[in-house]
Amino acid sequence: MLDAATSALAAFLDPAMLLFLMAGILAGLVVGIIPGLGGTGAVAILLPFVFVLEPEQALALIIGAVAVVHTSDTISSVLIGIPGSASATVLMLDGHEMAKQGQAARALAIAFLSSMAGGLLGAIGLTLSIPIARPLVLLFGSPELFMLTVLGISLTALLSSGNMLKGLLAGAFGLLLGQVGAAPAAAEYRYTFGSLYLTEGLDLVAVALGIFGIAEVVSLVARKTSVASGSGIGTGWGDGVRDFFTHWRHVLRGALVGIWAGVLPGLGATAGTWMAYGQARATARGKDRKKFGKGDPRGIVAPESANNSVEAGDLIPTLLFGIPGGAPAALLLGALLVFGIEPGPRIITEDLDIVYTIVWSFAIASVVGAGLCFLLSVPLAKLSYVRFPVLAAGLIVIMFTAGYQESQQISVLQVMLLLGAVGWLMKISHIPRAPFLIGFVLSIPLERYYYLTANLYTFGEWAVRPGVLVMAGVLVLPVALNLVKRLRARTDADVPEPSDDDQDLLEAEPPRSWPLALTAVFLVLFVAAFVVAQGYSTNARLVPSLVTACGALLASAVLVLGVRDLRRGERWQTDDEQKAWRVELRWVLLAFAWLAGFVVGVFIVGALIAAALYVPLFLWRVAQLRWPAIAIYTVAVLAVLLLLQEFAGIVLPLGYLTPRGLM
């Protein structure tokens, strides 16, 4: 074993090998930085090379990219509040909050160090677990996976502590949106309304970019200020390093959660990252927990450590069982096959050197990637001090283009716009969006493993399995404690405290009727979806019926409580507040119109020409830049698009009137 490990390491003395590893790292970093492009984007860049390289070189290339994508995707989440990839949405809570307080450098330092540690721990975990992973994975049957998804969904309650009902409502909405597309246990499509595009389900990147990214853009464009207040990138680097070492326990725990989430098939990086955040928050005590969501370093350490180790954990089923957990792992599997290396139980005896090449590549890439991110982020951190409308021109183009990549159906642009509106409404209504995302990613796994469990076991069989009992305990205890606490709190004070997330004070509060109206819309949506669900076959009906029934109940409860508060003579807005709200609303509507304008442009002339017209117009009218700057900016955006199209396999949507000869 040691022999294979050292000889695999020695291979990295070969400059060609290091060169390909570096190329992979650079590709991964660039793709990570661009909002909305993650592992799948990195795969697209590397695919053309993989099939023409030597096996070790191709592996170094792929692993180099996979190991660092989740290091650099932090940057845009923290600095500008636009998720760099779906799993980086978790950084919107504490990471972005810290940046808003002018401590971007501190947040990034914590994030990069945690990413590096997560990657290294992941590589160690991969090495250690190879001999024992097989029995461990086999121990985890459908009932355990089912309980794990339930545990994950219970995080929605945790992440909305203080405003449980609204959090659960958001979670139910996420679960419902996750149901769109093919049903796992029946050959049937749900909520597709005859659209072939929807049969694949809404894709995660578009949903995350819509609910978080677009909602953020519209409220910031209006303000015409920068994301962070103050000037300079802050001197937090040292603080960040200290935070990292102070919370080393969370680094370890995050990495363990990440590896485990990667090892188990069917959960995915986003769910794993959120679970790591959830466990850090759940185990914090009392007042300490209140700091989460307001720029707590632990809220960065745990998920960042996890999202890199997820990728390492993901390699275990890929190598040992030939089951890839995501697009990068699938590419790796394809490459291995082409080189005549068969992933499976025999890989440990026959191709151990390959396994160690992968482990070393992962470890080296984690360290180099984090180092490069430190260098890169010094100039990039200045972004959070640029006036937002200036950033927005490019961001709007990049976000919609990135959201288009997964499905490559132009309808996704409309969906993103719609979800952006929903995200903004949720934000002003203080309905937390984190539970929504968790519900969305776990919706289908929950249903899948429920059916597998129910069909393959009797209740008496699965309910008493030790793993299930342990997880049930983990699930029930805090809920019971929380209930007791809440009941007590209720007698003390009637007004529930605002939720922890999304509770950043809004510039202007909406009239009280707005949140009520949104809740009413949710209620109507749930009832309608419930009615539609009754038309599905038995195996496709159960979960949507339950989700919509719960959602309708939750929405009703929120509505009743809201009306009660209103009746109780909660004070109405003062004239000043009303005026502030109107100004805010006008700006947000205008920002939405600008976004819609770009989407219309794409429909008519395609993304490239639309960008060429839109960016200067936006910079002139909204950002009020001078012409030389506008010209340079526009050329830069177009160059980025063309470069991505040429080298990263990015597809730019065509419009109805795109002249094809020009493209």
């Binding site: 099939f51 069982f321 509507l589 939405f592 002249p659 493209m663």
Partner: protein
């Protein structure tokens, strides 16, 4: 409201509502450019797009990307091939897009898999392509092996007739490739209890190892690498293979020569080779589903000169020493057929008899509670 919305904002609002409301049933394709039609004796264009209706890194995608460099080498005119993945709708989205806007000049060719064929065979209403009319360029088969776990109590195929325990199968979707296994057991007259919802054949195999299910099938290459170690350890019992086609006859799979075909097992259990509706239905899906599973297709109306360029390349590719070496692993050692050779089998398969389709739909409905909308 007047103070709230200026004229400009109102115009903008109308625009945004319009934007969200814009109907887009399929992607706009732009205007101008060439219309994708070709003259009679046209050559293969210098740049060809491989339209892959499956995800990057999947089996079909790997197949196409593996093949691409050999196509560049041996297809007349040495065109360059660039893969383009169009996902969705169990590969219907990409295939529909190909037949409606892929043109007939050979600038795009479609990559298909068994799943694509099954959607057409089952008569899904969304399907706009007709493989009986399209032109197969080259095809490549795969095989499958059915096996049981030790805990099923099954030791030989004879035990299937009266299984000691109920046979539990784990599948992905009754309308995907799992259908061939369901039909095989229908032919044999053996009842199985099928649970659908697994993410792939890999997770289903894990479920068998955990004892959640006790009967499974894997493609031959997965069988050789993942299941054979289990057979050696005594935890799995191989039962039969789907076989390969030779001059219209299903014969033993040369990759697993010791395993009988489904036909042989039927004979062993019942004393006669299988026939009748159940077997016709099995054959109708097996041939496109496994024997010619992966394929490269051109649209109806593509000039013969273009089609022939691909078909002629098959022999040269098969003889390439590099290809011979690596294709054993990637393609599982199954031969690459030219579309010419497979055309008759395929036309027969895709001109599926209404009663055979109906029999299959009934099987799905009565035994597996699966109905296909609009069919």
């Amino acid at each position: 409201m007047r103070s709230l919305f200026t004229h400009r904002v109102r115009v903008a609002l109308v625009a945004s509502v319009t934007a969200v409301g814009l109907a887009a049933c399929s992607n706009p394709q732009g205007v101008g450019g060439d219309d994708g039609k070709a003259k009679e004796d046209a050559k293969v264009p210098p740049r060809v797009e491989l339209v892959i209706p499956f995800a990057e890194g999947g089996g079909t995608d790997t197949w196409a990307r593996f093949l691409a460099p050999y196509l560049e080498k041996y297809v007349e005119g040495s065109p360059t091939f660039s893969p383009k993945n169009v996902l969705g709708g169990e590969s219907i989205t990409g295939s529909n897009q190909f037949v409606t806007s892929g043109g007939t000049d050979g600038a795009q060719v479609l990559v298909t898999s068994g799943t694509t064929y099954f959607q057409a065979l089952l008569g899904r209403p969304e399907v706009e392509f007709d493989f009986a009319k399209m032109k197969p360029l080259m095809l490549n088969g795969t095989g499958g092996v059915i096996y049981a776990s030790k805990s099923s109590g099954i030791k030989t195929v004879e035990d299937l007739q009266d299984p000691p325990k109920p046979l539990v199968y784990g599948g992905i979707s009754a309308t995907g490739l799992d259908l061939s296994l369901l039909q095989a057991f229908d032919v044999l007259g053996v009842d199985i209890d099928a649970t659908f919802g697994f993410e792939g054949r890999g997770p289903a195999r894990l479920a068998l190892e955990r004892g959640e299910i006790n009967i499974d099938y894997q493609t031959t290459s997965a069988y050789l690498t993942q299941v054979e170690p289990m057979v050696e350890a005594g935890t799995a019992v191989p039962l039969m293979s789907f076989g390969v086609i030779e001059d219209g006859e299903i014969v033993r799979d040369p990759n697993v020569p010791d395993l009988p075909t489904v036909e042989e097992v039927h004979e062993q259990l019942n004393g006669s080779p299988p026939e009748g509706e159940a077997y016709d239905a099995y054959r109708a899906f097996l041939v496109p589903g496994f024997v010619y599973q992966k394929g490269l297709w051109a649209n109806e109306g593509t000039p013969d000169s273009v089609v022939q360029a691909y078909r002629d390349a098959v022999a040269a590719i098969s003889d390439d020493p590099e290809f011979k070496k690596s294709s054993a692993e990637v393609l599982g050692g199954y031969p690459l057929y030219s579309g010419e050779k497979a055309q008759d089998d395929l036309i027969e398969a895709f001109e599926i008899k209404p009663e055979v389709r109906q029999y299959t739909l009934d099987l799905l409905k009565t035994k597996y509670e699966t109905t296909i909308e609009g069919s």
